[in-house]
């Protein structure tokens, strides 16, 4: 065999391997796309029975009765939204404080250990938050916080109804606190990263004009990083909306709409987690998957919007949060 033939043969084999490798990377990438499509199609398909049976009433009715086979998701949607929004009210200020501390305040030797410690909070499995919430936080709230709320805040005009009722320990307030603890690391990580993208020159100009550290943060850093802060906050909201195990332990699992934050309730994900393996009738099962479709739509919208906002910023800065 001449050397030209050998070379041609080697080139041929190289080309073949190139085609195979390139093809498999493309196939894998397209698989990611198909995965999202597959999730959508399979869930809508499985939930169709419930949607076709109840139509719009599936979303607007507050009823959940496996005995009479009547299902409406309103209570679960209400519980999901209330716990998540309340969790955001707790988590956003704390996350902002942590991000400020880590970027502007902490000495260098403290930054890394504290940063890692906060990130570790995100690594703890959600079921651990669940048992901790049930066995530690809930009794604490039941004995010390909720009776005080009922006694002191329950009689206030307008907002009083939020704090009335028997102190069960488990309920929307407890779920929201646990959720807040879980999403603080996510929100603070994104906020820290966007704060770090603020050019030093901008901050130095602020200090040069005689501004205090806080004034530089509030009037230079925050306006500059607004889009990233909102994106990070919505990412946290997406997490809170879909969180399952931690909430399942402490929400109380009652398909009920109560104005009181102390009352047991349920969320979409908690209802699915609790009832799915017990759902015997096809309509019951389909209704639970229908709940999953609603959750998917809500979180997809929130996460999608958050990702679009973050996409406009430097993508690399956010790691794999």
């Amino acid at each position: 065999m001449s050397s030209a033939e050998a070379l041609a043969k080697q080139l041929e084999s190289q080309r073949l391997r190139e085609r195979i490798f390139k093809g498999s990377t493309l196939a894998a990438a397209v698989l990611v796309l198909l995965l999202l499509g597959g999730v959508t199609v399979s869930l809508v398909h499985a939930g169709w029975l419930a949607f076709a049976r109840f139509k719009l009433a599936f979303i607007t009715r507050n009823i959940w009765n496996p005995v009479t086979n009547e299902y409406g998701a309103l209570a679960a949607i209400y519980g999901t939204l209330v716990t998540s929004v309340l969790a955001m009210i707790f988590a956003v200020p704390v996350s902002f404080g942590i991000a400020v501390f880590l970027t502007e305040l902490a000495p260098d030797w403290l930054k890394r250990p504290v940063g890692i410690a906060i990130e570790l909070l995100a690594a703890i499995p959600s079921i651990i938050f669940g048992i901790w919430g049930l066995f530690v936080l809930a009794p604490l709230l039941q004995e010390h916080v909720e009776p005080w709320m009922d006694g002191h805040l329950g009689n206030l005009p307008l907002v009083g109804a939020l704090f009335q009722g028997a102190p069960y320990g488990i309920g929307m307030l407890t779920a929201a606190i646990v959720l807040a603890i879980m999403i603080i690391p996510f929100i603070s990580a994104v906020m820290r990263d966007v704060f770090e993208t603020v050019p030093d020159v901008l901050k130095e100009s602020g200090y040069g004009l005689g501004a205090t550290t806080w004034e530089v943060i509030w009037k230079v850093v925050v306006p500059y990083s607004r889009a990233g802060m909102i994106g990070g906050t919505m990412l946290g909201l997406g997490r809170a909306l879909g969180e399952t195990m931690a909430v399942t332990f402490v929400i109380g699992n009652a398909h009920a709409i109560s104005p009181s934050l102390l009352a047991p309730a349920t969320t979409i994900s908690a209802a699915i987690a609790n009832e799915f393996t017990e759902a015997t009738s096809p309509l019951y099962k389909s209704s639970l998957i229908g709940l999953g479709v609603l959750l998917f739509i809500i979180t997809f919208a929130v996460i999608g919007a958050a990702r679009l906002m973050l996409l406009r910023l430097n993508r690399r800065a956010f790691g794999s949060v």
């Binding site: 391997r17 490798f21 990377t25 894998a28 990438a29 698989l31 990611v32 796309l33 995965l35 999202l36 597959g38 999730v39 399979s42 869930l43 499985a46 200020p93 996350s95 902002f96 404080g97 305040l105 504290v114 890692i116 906060i118 990130e119 570790l120 909070l121 690594a123 703890i124 499995p125 959600s126 079921i127 651990i128 938050f129 669940g130 048992i131 901790w132 066995f135 530690v136 603070s188 205090t212 806080w214 997406g238 879909g242 969180e243 399952t244 195990m245 332990f249 994900s269 699915i272 987690a273 799915f276 393996t277 998957i289 999953g292 998917f296 979180t299 996460i303 999608g304 990702r307 794999s320």
Partner: protein, 284 residues
Amino acid sequence: MSRRAYRRIVNLLALGLSALATVIGLVFLGAILWTLVKEGVAGLSWAVFTQVTPPPGSANGGLLNAIYGSAILTVLGILFGAPIGVLAGTYLAEYGRGSALSSVIRFVNDVLLSAPSIIVGLFVYELVVVPMGQFSAISGAIALAVIAMPVIVRTTEDMLNLVPRGMKDASTAMGAYPWRTITSIAYPAARSGMVTGLLLAVARISGETAPLLFTALNNSFWSTDLKAPIANLPMVIFQFALSPYDNWQRLAWAGALLITFAILILSIFARTVVAKLGAGAGSR
């Protein structure tokens, strides 16, 4: 009060509150770890590692089958998820760089990265469990793979993008096809970062419970059959913690301690040791 004094007080107050916020975050971490150690150590014994889960009320028993099941599910999940994740990440960083398809896939991957894991559980239930007619270890592993994949896609792409363009160009200039450049130049240069991503994916999926609820389910007995339900730590913790039996609750805490510290140690290892090893090789 002078304007200057007012501004100073506001400054101190705001910075004080931000330090307080950090303390709050750390206190919660400490409180959770403290509870785990306090409750978990009491339940730890050799039996935990040598005996299978007991019936309610009996004196002994352990978590052997759950530990084994969790290990199997995690390993299979990574084995399924990692190759696809690495290949897809490679496409995004190399072949598809800048294309419209890549932007769409990247966005979809980012959404999947944050999608609720219970949705993944329902999806795999419909995709695998319903056709198979029963809950199975293999469906649990697939669910975990779906959760691990986006993490690996993301870290692979990010790490490949950090490899200097010049290195890849040098390889191309010597006549190497892209596949050769990627496998022989880019992968080795990005290796430590990719390993970190893989370890973080392991940490992420090994504690996942929600996607296993309707896939792997649980099993009170020793089972290695991939087509049958398999015991796993998160589901055992879920079941045992909510039970009224003392011995089950003790085991739940022991399991919680084991899984949390395994994950924390893995996370710290990935972030410090592996990342540091890579700092030397990755920063030419």
